[in-house]
Symmetry: D2
Subunit: 306 residues, 4 copies
């Protein structure tokens, strides 16, 4: 029932669309998922940080998962199921599993006294109780947890259902190299994120693709394709061409990304749930001018070919 | 349907009892609530920090609320409904309201950039959408949010449904005095917490009682009674007598408190949910020796009279 | 004796050069300062975050200030004098003043309980005791202090010796606009930083220049020149051309910047003081390949004209 | 020249006395040191957290060290020499050594990405360059660093000049037991702190004494004496008798402690350096009433015998 997933290529992190009154906009979610699936991405991730999962109750999470999976067709759906309690993370993961998710993405949870053994146990227990592949998300700005290279290698080696690391602990380059060098007995792909900020350099280091919310995954897919073909200079040219947009978009917060998705016609409202902030006029104007410079004349409501 | 509550006196924060496998132990919860109600406390609070609410899914929260309210009889039940999203906090509060809670207790939520205006809006929106009285919890160690005296006074003045401040931002004494002095147009009672660590001094400063998880609320009730009667020296003697136990119990974590409740016969297991830690043997032994020193010969399975 | 400084244009933040054994390399510092002064920058800043000032004792700070001022000729030298004690910050600032600095740059200091009134007093006391212009540095990643727009406006309005705000609290764009709009009675220039990461966009928002450690200030100067001349599209083209290098260089840590300065022939060793880390081979190789892509064929030991 | 020190017993952490204008009050420091030495304490520590060392420039630190050593006579003086740079910590330690200190106390330093190997190297380098015994201070509230039991055991085993651990990472009890159990090849004494808050319990766990700023070290010395003699019940009675004062005094900040030292006649002013806060009237009054309850009729300007 669950579609198998291979963690190479491009896996957009999806925003959760809301109406102006902050309620779930499921038709927009369907549109967003369909657009991504039609692009031929390798999977989509719902309920990540960009998906504002930390601002939803469980019943809403369930609706998001159901809607995304119904819309995704053959495209695998990965579900963020992090929780500050281990058993609760298991229960959320089991819900995702029951609803047909292809994998779950899990961040470690901050405790008053950092303890890598507890983080190991957290993943181990989830792996024991959940049949799906696990994506380990390493993103200290949202988790407040710094996982050492040693811990990550131990997780990869000892927990067979860990299928991927989302490597987004800056500085990412050295950590990606250390992980690739350190995976001796068992290897998993590393996906990069942070809005593709260091994407060109991370592909050089051996990353297998992107798992991020950048609003033009079709261009990231082209970068991955070029890198796989050994055309690293062309990949870098593409990276450089996009970089002003990447830099602008990855500013803290989700407002700019939601506005980009709105400008692409994929979601109806750019509303961010309180206490987050939606985009202001000056930023919106600056974004539009930037789009004209980076993608002049493009019809961004359609897949962009560059 | 909702029992009215007056925020003076003693309001125990209840642990959530779990079985050894970490699943909810609702019969123990019923026993715990009944014991407190029979003591004549002024209310009980479920799903606070001590209640490990951050380690539960919403369906479990619902069970806890239902069970506590069913057991409480005439004793008001206050429900912790903090959430990192404003709308989600509203939804959790509305669930509590529908289930018969007498009030909700809400902490502010940490954002990447602290912003007191957003915290104000958070409470304001909850107050608009929820009919219950609000307890504002001011506990930076768990919320990571420092609310200024100015913000708290503005909340009290502008939001009529705020009925109480749980004042547990150390150092508490100056903040309690500043709040009491600053409440000009509208006054609300201040309850103290932190396991009663500064309880004797906080009553001197004008606190109206306790809203904390200390396992002997009957003794805190006696302290409040003495303080109200102006017998501050006797209140202090009681405080001093208990202080070694108070100090021991308020060490970080919930393990010691759950063990005390178990020793009192109120809950069956002292299990703390992972990644939290349950009590170890050495600490358990030290706790028992301490009980013998502080309450020699007492049958702690019954209300303790000292 | 003190050279006057006008906070518009480009003010490189200087690394502090060390020998391989981590001792001060003052001849390299002289070379570095001379290079910048000969470029015609508007001033140089020593003992900032990039200058590893937090890893030096006071006697070393004194040597750095003396050496920089002796080398700078007509170029103003700004000195970082932040300290966790107000009186100590005053004493460090007075030392800088006595040695001939043109201004001091001061960050707010983290206290256990954030308190904007204390931050205000901190700057006010420094301004009272120090005759030099003050640069207020707003960089939460190093200071751990979030200064609200309201606080910054109050500082600007009430403390006449504040001459500039170094605006590097991400997201910077909205804050820059809010400050420019909010300065009613007294205006000061805003300089941007963060390695010029958002430089193109910040100039659009009204920033007056750069106060950052990016290793090619001559190109930033050209960007400022274009922006001032209203040639915003050309400024953006330059920004985009540089952006892969800007992104790579601003990764956390000072190792990459020191290596770039070494590659430019400005400092002898790329050593970073422990517990900081010097650059590793893989990153060094990646940096060199990047330089070839961004500045093909350039002799970077000389000012780069693009 | 350096007096040898054995880390068992009581080692008061000394406040640094200031005049009302915040300048160093060296005569008060002399008085304070003499009082402690005359009590027969086992050593005194200057320039710790309570000593406000983070608010002083290096020249002031030098004056404090010189004055304390001159006044101490045969009493060993331990000097806090933590610094965010390893080489700077070495230089401060060498200064202490040259001035006649008996040991140095060093905290680990926070880095953007926690790294226990770097912390290990930090201590190792200091030990290599400094001939004095090292006290490893484990106090996360001031250092922001959580050292694992594994790291502490490795430090103790591999660095022979580590002579003591100041164990003040709450919850302390389990950590003290884990350290005592874990020290296989080499054992060092553990001193407790946190204002003696958990003192009675920590002695039970095997702590060798106190290294804290509680203003009545003569009573702590008596507790240690009783514990050593196996009279643990008497030690606990003393602890309980003092506990209201201990609890009151260890509230965050140094204001209360300085006021107690002033009330004891040991320092002239209770001034705390900005941005720290000096004591307010209400707290001062509450403190005096408390002293009357805990030490009724005592002349606290003299050693207190209870």
């Amino acid at each position: 029932m669950t579609k198998p997933v291979r963690f190479e290529g491009v896996f957009p992190i999806l925003a959760t669309p809301f109406h102006e009154d902050e309620s779930l906009d499921l038709p927009s979610l369907t549109r967003l998922v369909r657009f991504m699936a039609d692009l031929g991405v390798d999977g989509v991730t719902v309920l990540g940080v960009l998906g504002e999962s930390n601002r939803m109750i469980d019943a809403e999470r369930e609706q998001v998962i159901k809607t995304a999976i119904a819309a995704a067709g053959d495209c695998p759906v990965i579900v963020g199921t992090s929780h500050s309690g281990t058993l609760a993370a298991i229960k959320l993961s089991q819900m995702a599993q029951a609803l047909g998710a292809s994998a779950v993405m899990v961040s470690p949870q901050q405790e008053p006294i950092p303890n890598e053994q507890r983080v190991f146990e957290y993943y181990q227990r989830i792996a024991t109780e959940v049949a799906l592949p696990l994506v380990v998300q390493d993103h200290p700005p949202s988790s407040q947890v710094h996982m050492s290279v040693g811990l990550l290698l131990r997780l990869i080696q000892d927990i067979p259902s860990i299928a991927c690391v989302k490597a987004e602990a800056a500085p990412t380059l050295g950590k990606i190299s250390a992980l690739i060098e350190g995976m001796k007995l068992r290897r998993v792909p590393l996906l990069t994120a942070l809005g593709a900020l260091y994407g060109g350099f991370e592909l050089e280091r051996g990353a297998s693709g992107f798992n991020t919310g950048f609003a033009f995954p079709e261009i990231l897919a082209r970068m991955v394709q070029l890198a796989r073909a050994g055309q690293i200079d062309q990949a870098h040219q593409l990276y450089q061409r996009l970089l002003p947009l990447i830099v602008f978009e990855q500013q803290p917060g989700t407002a700019i990304r939601k506005e980009l998705l709105r400008l692409r016609g994929l979601i109806t409202s750019n509303r961010v749930r309180h206490p987050g902030a939606s985009i202001d006029n000056a930023t919106s104007n600056q974004l539009r001018a930037l789009l004209q410079r980076v993608l002049p004349g493009a019809d961004i409501s359609k897949p962009v070919a560059i």
